[in-house]
């Protein structure tokens, strides 16, 4: 573990994270937002799986997310076990304007809970929240507590607030409360996100980072079996994830694999 007091080197911990969800819910967009802070409309569908890495610092921890952005099309479904095998974290994405995508998300969660690493941290992300918000109310909604009730005096406290300020209800098919309730029951982190505006994206990865049992990972990487991607014994790969400052410099020249 890093010993920051003595100023010695932080060791970044590699966390394999997989994104699952129906086609076109926005998995790749969420990742792109997280990794590059960009959004591209009309992206082509992912084929197979796309692989990205992103280092994060959270207080005294440095995590290196090894992200598997998987294709959501039916024909890739049976490849999923290869992608989520040995994953420490998963983000299961659905589209809040498409109810069937939540059903698909639930079945992914079920599959993960049955087949994946038992300690896997799963976050449920309801994406495309920008489609139901008018621009004035986009952005700063805190996702950990959703107490933003409508200012409207007619709103009855205690009633499920399905219409937040400026929200256009017509497109939304999955009420936040419904998804939240499901997530709570299934033991998942839950966020509503917009890859387009950025809302909620960093939060997901933050909360996952907080929840990952780092000690477990470090223990298992030392053990050597089934490690998440630290490829010991090969100089090239070992150089990544050791020292953050070194890596920032190196990042520009080294290949991005």
């Amino acid at each position: 573990m890093a010993d920051t007091a003595s100023g010695s080197v932080d060791r970044s911990v590699q966390v394999k994270l997989v994104l699952l969800g129906e086609a076109a819910v926005g998995k790749s967009s969420v990742v792109l937002r997280f990794v590059s802070n960009e959004f591209q409309a009309n992206k082509e569908p992912t084929i197979g799986a796309a692989f990205l890495t992103q280092k994060c610092r959270l207080e005294d921890r440095v995590l290196r997310y090894e992200i598997w952005d998987t294709a959501g099309q039916e024909r890739f479904h049976s490849l999923a076990p290869m992608y989520y095998r040995n994953a420490q974290a998963a983000v299961v994405v659905y589209d809040i304007t498409k109810a069937s995508s939540l059903e698909k998300a639930k079945s992914w969660v079920k599959e993960l809970q049955r087949q994946a690493n038992p300690n896997i941290v799963i976050a449920l992300a309801g994406n495309k929240v920008d489609l139901v918000k008018s621009s004035s109310s986009a952005g700063t909604m805190s996702t950990s507590e959703s107490e933003d009730e409508a200012d409207d005096a007619t709103a009855t406290p205690g009633e499920t607030p399905s219409v937040a300020d400026g929200e256009s209800e017509s497109l939304r098919q999955v009420p936040r409360e419904e998804a939240q309730a499901y997530a709570t029951e299934a033991g998942l982190l839950f966020f509503e996100t917009s890859a387009k505006t950025g809302e909620g994206v960093v939060e997901i990865f933050t909360e996952i980072a907080k929840k990952i049992p780092i000690e477990h990972i470090l223990a298992s990487t030392r053990g050597g079996a089934g490690r998440p991607g630290v490829t010991g014994g090969r100089d090239g790969a070992r150089q990544d994830g050791v020292n953050l400052d070194e890596n920032q410099v190196k990042g520009k020249d080294a290949c991005n694999c």
Partner: protein, 203 residues
């Protein structure tokens, strides 16, 4: 999920009014001239079924015998089948049985017991005393063949035709929903580096 296309075969003796029924049902008639030569006319109709946009590819087949051998090809991959008879012609009703049998033989659906059929009794607008097949008789036959939905209609009345197609497409969609798409990725091919890859022409 996504767009759906259903292949719908329309069967029945010539003269029962299939063509005018289709003309009426499908507003935009695409092709009108092939029946005599290749044995079928093709129409397309888009409908909403349970919030899904369904494109129906309608195969309005000729009744003549000389196209019989084409049944295997034409019926192949059909999702549902509409059987039409003329309520004023007992014969056209009696042949429904052979039409249905023939279809099942030639199309070989994977689940013949549950294959979606619908029966349309046409030309009810003709005078009552000309009617040769009672509703009761028709419904009895339909029930005996696995509860085939039954509708009566006339060229002047669009309503039941629409319902008939709605019903049969709904049933066809249900069949599709029950089927899981399993795409296998068996372990990737083992590469044998030791032996020479052979690309010999496979003629």
């Amino acid at each position: 999920m996504g767009r759906v296309l259903l292949k719908v075969i329309i069967l029945g003796d010539s003269g029962v009014g299939k063509t005018s029924l289709m003309n009426q049902y499908v507003n935009k008639r695409f092709s009108n001239q092939y029946k005599a030569t290749i044995g079928a006319d093709f129409l397309t109709k888009e409908v909403m079924v349970d919030d899904r946009l369904v494109t129906m590819q309608l195969w309005d087949t000729a009744g003549q015998e000389r196209f019989q051998s084409l049944g295997v090809a034409y019926y192949r991959g059909a999702d549902c089948c509409v059987l039409v008879y003329d309520v004023n012609s007992a014969k056209s009703f009696e042949t429904l049985d052979s039409w249905r049998d023939e279809f099942l033989i030639q199309a070989s659906p994977h689940d013949p017991e549950n294959f979606p059929f619908v029966v349309l009794g046409n030309k009810i607008d003709v005078e009552e005393n000309k009617r040769q097949v009672t509703q009761k008789r028709a419904m009895t036959w339909c029930q005996s063949k696995g509860n085939i939905p039954y509708f009566e209609t006339s060229a002047k009345e669009a309503i039941n035709v629409e319902q008939a197609f709605q019903t049969v497409s709904k049933n066809a969609l249900q069949q599709e929903a029950e089927e899981q798409l399993y795409v296998d990725y068996p372990d990737p091919i083992q590469i044998d580096r030791e032996s020479t890859q052979n690309y010999g022409c496979n003629c």
